[in-house]
Symmetry: D2
Subunit: 344 residues, 4 copies
């Protein structure tokens, strides 16, 4: 039995809970985790667990293996809306996030930022810290990149989302970004998840390339357990045997997550497919199956991009994607079946 | 070097080709395969291959490993339209194929057939021969099932598609069905592929659950090599580590196949997800990314279905899916981006 | 509830079973499958199922989904030994099966057969019918190949195993081979499984490239349900994202199958890895974790092989593998841990 | 073109290299990475790359995408031996690393440490920081755990290996441990890899659960690029569709890594299988295919273990595994084929 206590637990409540657990004839162990008290003890009967769960100061009692709580519909029965600099993820519109893979310089970033804004994107993406398989590859401009992003926001008014990869960088990235991205390769970096959970910035949490839906949810739980409930989940392709695209976009994740969580869901067809020609049809598919947002890699001169050149679309292509998604949104808002799913 | 000859190869042409191969200083081996002569010989230079390819009676020359030819845009530069009893796969509308997993009896089949017709489906599906993991599971009504399907077509006017699993059953199924389905488990059953290639019935070829796009295309090539070019490819989910759905629907297969082949593409969200609640959003996603058809499992009383009960939708749910898909089709026909992709 | 009847069911027994099922207030459906009567009815209580199971003529009653029965330790509590022309699979020695991928001609086959015999192999493999991804690839010599194999057995005394791919070919292959191979691509070809189940020839059943252990066992169940209990299971690599080898050899399958079934287990490191240099270490690993047999592709001149040239080892390499396996067998027979596992 | 400079690059050398690159008509970008200067420029001809590679101060020039260098046989043509407190990984003996999943307390750790030493293990493992899917699960004793491990080393003389998960913890863990483990979930945590690369402690780098062999090598390259060449690679199972074991142990990784790198290879059958009964056969298989080490989870009372209870073996079982591995080592040292592979 794992007893998850509330963040506002008082000492008196704690003592009463511990006494109640001991009263079941088992001896509890107490830990502090993500700013909460967690009390662990050998298995208890269903009845006695319910009894503990009713005590003041108790958030939830898990029977066996602890799992997800704050991410579930049980905890919050209405869809969460995440506000990123005035743009709402989880509302009636599919939000289009767009920008370059990496921030490569101030001029080219500003050029791209203006272009994606003109094309209808609502949030600007761009990597200042890039996870790269090889230690010798371009790994981003770091602090400079963050400042260029801030300048692009200044000029275009678009809020910015950028990746953070190291617990030590969280304070710096938090100062510049409107939304912190935790990338696929760090979905299981629990120290980093806990650290972004301590901030109050919106978080874009990307699914690991071999992570299950369950694991994506428990990773999000790390952030929510720290008190930060502004999390947007992002499907970006999983690793399978198929290699006609870089990864296999798992769009079933959209309804599967919808069924399990109140958090908004984003889809990234650019990283999933790794193929410029596949981005538009997959972005439409994402919107059609109910995604709250799509994230699209854009470059004004893809052939010059310092990473992932083969997947960046042009601003004109982005504009067509935005038009399609707007049209799909309108159709689906009209149809009964989509409405029923949207309100569950 | 593999020389694929034309089906109308004359003896004189054959002799001339063989002489030309021998003239390269290598000795050819001759085989008859799928009604064609195939001439194999040790490697040749690019130049000499081109020379052979120009000879009368030669369809194509493969340099190394033989692969796909008739399925590619090189062979046919315009999209293939497959006519199934008057319903066209590969035309401007997304065709909805619907019906029960298995034919369970005449009355219930007729009831379902009327209901899916009323809901807007254009083709009736239903299994008379069912591939089942266990030898003790219900494996379909066989010949009776075929006759019930014919009766349902008689009454509703809907053409029927049904699976064939054994080379020995092809003549019988061919007599009753408007379209022969080769199921996922038989995508690599080359004897069966060759056999349906000898018929002139449209074929619905489902992707194997661990088959690559390449392999799906070479399996289709078996059918086309036999002279039957009426093939519709069907994405139905691949096997991955993720188990929130039965399989992982790989919608990237739609643009990936579009890029490689002139054959129409169908998507089966029912078998892919195995979850009734996921069928509608995934069917919309399939239409939005350009599928030519979707195949939906429907039952009037899902709880009584003898197989796959958990994935069958009700006729009312099917009607909503058909309405959504019609609306999406209309939107996407209007948008430039979709149109550009459609005509490549 | 599914009632699996015995093959020697009498009419009187059948009537009594049907009456008993009807006595539970449910109406049974009767099917003949793989030479057995199978009676299906709506769910029954545990108690009433036990009652039915005690009736004469009943082999087993499955509560819900029917699964595996004859392949389990419940059915046969001692390891099955499969005798192939005097060579025993499932006995104290690891059997080495070896030979070319495909039979390419009489002379080269005899040359290879003599060489693998001299190297210590006990069974000769060779494909007369080859499953090939492309319809234009060399698909084996067919009937001629079978006769060449018979000639090689005549000369060397080695029993032969060869693949059968089409239900229509089973009688012919059965006449020539000592053991029928059902290949990976046909593990889910249920018509073929039923057909080889009707023969009394030993069967080498290869795991499908995306088949689970459970599915391999239910495919074997098809063969045993037909009355043929001489089945050897073969792990040959599964399809994963990793491409440094052609497939990923799943050696955990060896203890996992041992735990579930009394049937012998073979491992094919050649097809699993697709790399000549990996065959020897993986063959040793297979023997070390308890495989009853290994199957190795051998060619006297690998560079001339008409298929899978890159994975064939030379006869001298085979001889080294046989020596290693013999030495490992001896060590493991001496150690307590291996002995304990071997007798379960 | 990426020019990787030597760590002892002088300013004069740097200037000469930059001048040479500019002499090719392209403009270089200079970065400092992992203590090395990396110079990037647009593509160059093969000839001009070779010219640059010959300049003083240049370690290597990559044509396109940068990859692995220090991990390859090109860089070091003899097998690397990694000394961990006097125990050599990469020598003639298969090293057995053993211990509990997590350090749970001083007494139980000492009890286990004594038992694994008596059973023949050479290195003690134990987690002070545990990566756990749920934020509410037991995540290790942290600093206390490190001190208990140091006490266990004191008492038994066994060197200790323990996981580090956060860049901020590296200095602390480095002070206590003889070998730093980077776990599967952090194989792509590049900040952490760079940080352990700055230490001079041996590193046990576990393969990510969906990482390719290539990616494992480039992750190791991060560590070596930092100047720390004491890296042992560890195969611990990959994620596939098969669920009879927790992960699929990919033993082909052993010969595949051997072919590509001079670094020693360890295998962890405990985490791979997640099943106590599978550990012994898989440990033998690992040794038989040439692994330099195996890592086994052991507990004196598995039923009381706070994590992964179902995979821990008893000390008596460990003793049997050690005996088997010793016997296999002896056999394989005697056989010609193994010897040939060992020296490549």
């Amino acid at each position: 039995m794992i007893v998850l206590c509330r963040t506002d637990l008082t000492d008196a409540q704690r003592d009463r809970i511990l006494a109640a657990v001991r009263g079941l004839g088992v001896s509890p162990q107490v830990r502090e985790q993500e700013g909460r008290t967690v009390i662990e003890s050998p298995a208890a009967t269903d009845a006695s667990r319910c009894e503990i769960e009713r005590l003041a100061g108790v958030e939830r009692v898990f029977a066996g293996e602890p799992g997800a709580h704050f991410v579930t519909w049980d905890y919050r029965p209405t869809p969460t809306k995440v506000d990123v600099g005035g743009v709402v993820f989880g509302g009636p519109d599919t939000v289009v996030v767009a920008g370059p893979c990496a921030v490569e310089g101030l001029d080219v970033l500003l050029e791209i930022a203006r272009a994606v804004k003109a094309a209808g994107a609502r949030v600007l993406r761009g990597g200042a810290y890039k996870p790269r398989t090889s230690p010798y590859a371009f790994r981003g401009l770091g602090k400079d990149g963050l400042e260029f992003l801030a300048a692009a926001r200044e000029e275009t008014g678009l809020p910015i989302v950028t990746e953070v990869m190291d617990t030590r960088d969280v304070p710096l990235v938090e100062r510049h970004a409107d939304m912190l991205q935790v990338g696929s390769r760090n979905m299981h970096n629990f120290a980093l998840l806990a650290e972004v959970g301590r901030t109050r910035k919106p978080v874009l949490l990307k699914r690991g390339m071999s992570a299950t839906i369950d694991e994506l949810l428990t990773s999000a739980e790390y952030v929510l357990a720290g008190g930060n409930e502004k999390v947007v989940l992002c499907e970006r392709g999983i690793r399978t045997f198929e290699h006609s695209s870089r990864n296999t976009l798992d769009l079933t994740a959209v309804p599967a997550l919808r069924e399990r969580t109140h958090l908004p869901v984003c889809v990234d067809p650019s990283h999933a497919s790794g193929r410029r020609g596949f981005v538009a049809p997959l972005a439409r598919a994402a919107a059609a199956c109910g995604a709250d947002a799509v994230m699209i890699e854009v470059h004004v001169r893809p052939e010059e991009a310092r990473c992932d050149a083969q997947q960046a679309v042009l601003p004109t292509e982005l504009a067509a994607i935005v038009r399609d998604i707007d049209a799909l949104d309108e159709v689906l808002r009209r149809t009964a079946s989509a409405r029923a799913e949207a309100v569950r």
